[in-house]
């Protein structure tokens, strides 16, 4: 199988897995148990990982809180920050293409009296920094805008957005889950106050993630319990996964310069190749401000789930934002919803149907792209022949 769904999660680096194993088999102590060796070893390994993760994003170790997932980091950032800011105002700004773990969280806050502004994006998926500047008002306490969109690959003008927030004195959170390991992250350049990353998206294991909280920014934990993570996150830490995340961060920092150009070469080859195949294929996202190795598009006349399944049968793992493929385990058809991201960038809802995303990692090759380009014409042709829409052109 050729894996092209790296925004959903990457294959863990073997070096990372090798480093994790002893934290299951030998150093299995609870990192809060400081007074015997295997507890202390677990603690020290976790703190070493904290330094590695901090170095990866230009932070200091005591600004890193380990969590279980990007979703948890985003929840902690927003809900944990708002626990301390209610008397300062109740206005929050996000973009209309945020991940569910930001969008759903702030949408629910309306019930608590918060006013939410969702900034529009242009056809390329970009928030206009001038729109953010206009939207900020005295009551604004938090801005949360993602760095990279996983579905359409767009890289926001995060530095500019950060500068505006800083100038206006508004706290700025960045969901950088789809950026880490693919786009350089420096919390000082981005001028953000909080930033979320997840290990599984940069060649580490699932179950480890982090929230960067700039020194001086007040955040309260969401779980009540022990003193782990300095009170930001009670509960025994997932030491093996955190150790893996630490090494994954160190490797990404050291090796991105080597593998990112390769991702860009694959991306260009796939982009040019697909663009030449069909005149009814339309790319989504931005031409130049996009995650290396990320290509997304929609095809007229055919539906995304069918395309996804055919490509799967041919040995390719991809993603779709179509309603039909959205929630196959749902109990009700009403839970099938076309991607709000694609709707936001102007793809007609009924046609979101035919959307597809392919995201490469350092483990893909130019030969993989050749194979995609070889299989696409027959696959699309087959589905077109079957489609009620095709002849109605």
């Amino acid at each position: 199988m050729i894996y092209l769904d790296n925004v959903a999660g990457t294959k863990p680096d073997q070096r990372v897995i090798d480093k994790m194993i002893p934290y299951f088999t030998e150093h299995y102590g609870n990192p809060s148990a400081h007074f015997y060796p295997i507890g202390r070893e677990a603690f020290e390994a976790m703190e070493a990982a904290r330094v590695q993760v901090a170095d990866f994003i230009g932070a200091t170790a005591d600004e890193i809180v380990f969590t279980s997932s990007g979703t948890e980091s985003n929840n902690l950032a927003i809900k944990g920050f708002l626990k301390n800011s209610a008397n300062k105002g109740k206005h929050i700004i996000i973009s209309e293409i945020e991940h569910f773990s930001v969008d759903t969280v702030v949408t629910k806050l309306i019930n608590d009296g918060y006013e939410i502004t969702k900034l529009k994006v242009n056809k390329g998926g970009l928030v206009d920094p001038a729109d953010l500047e206009k939207a900020i008002k005295d009551e604004t306490v938090l801005v949360s805008i993602q760095y990279v969109n996983p579905e359409i690959g767009t890289i926001q003008y995060t530095e500019e957005l950060g500068a505006i927030c800083k100038a206006k004195g508004v706290t700025f959170h960045v969901d950088a889950v789809a950026a880490a390991g693919f786009v350089e992250i420096d919390v000082n350049k981005l001028k953000c106050d909080m930033l979320s990353i997840a290990s599984q998206n940069f060649f580490g294991p699932k179950g480890a993630a982090a929230l960067y909280i700039r020194e001086g920014v007040k955040v309260s934990g969401l779980l009540d319990g022990g003193f782990q993570e300095r009170g930001y996150r009670s509960g025994t830490e997932n030491v093996p996964a955190i150790v893996g995340m630490g090494l994954a961060a160190e490797i990404a920092k050291a090796e991105m310069a080597e593998y990112v150009p390769k991702l860009e070469a694959m991306q260009k080859k796939l982009w040019d190749g697909l663009g030449g195949l069909f005149d009814f294929l339309h790319f989504t996202g931005h031409d130049t401000r996009r995650r290396p190795g990320h290509v997304s598009f929609w095809i007229e006349y055919i539906e995304g789930e069918s395309l996804l399944m055919w490509l799967s049968l041919k040995g390719f793992a991809c993603a779709s934002g179509s309603a039909c493929s959205s929630n196959i385990l749902a109990e009700d058809e009403d839970d099938l919803v076309a991607s709000p991201v694609l709707t936001a960038v102007g793809v007609p809802t009924d046609i979101c149907a035919g959307s597809l995303g392919m995201s490469m990692s350092r483990y893909n090759t130019l030969e993989d792209i050749d194979k995609v380009l070889e299989v696409m014409p027959e696959t699309v042709q087959k589905l077109c022949e079957m489609s009620t829409m095709y002849n109605q052109k």
Binding site: T349, C352, M386, T388
Partner: protein
Amino acid sequence: MAKGPYSETVMDHFMNPRNMGEIEDANGVGEVGNPACGDVMKIFLKIDDNNIVEDVKFKTFGCGAAIASSSMATELMIGKSVEELLQLTNDAIVDALGGLPPAKIHCSVMAEEAIEDALRNFYKSKGKDDSIVDEMKAKITKEN
């Protein structure tokens, strides 16, 4: 291969759809669309003088379940009488497919609706009122 969300029969009909295409001289064409999924399904019927389905073809813009439902529906329709077609329910299509995920049951309902729409158009093409379909359905319900 790891089990996906669909049964083996669904996957078989998705990969090798039966009776896919159009019938140029069809005497009953049904088309339905489902706004929830954005799917569109079209059934082409050729019914002979004895009111028996001589040929049937389909075209579908939709997901795997929609394609498999229409393919299976056509298989169940060939050689059947008009009365028998009206008794072909979505449940029968789902059973023949070895089940569908709950969120995809509507795809089989679309197939049932497409068949009925095709039959209405069959009667209209013969210059008759399609209320005959309602009468036939009422009679079937009464008999059952």
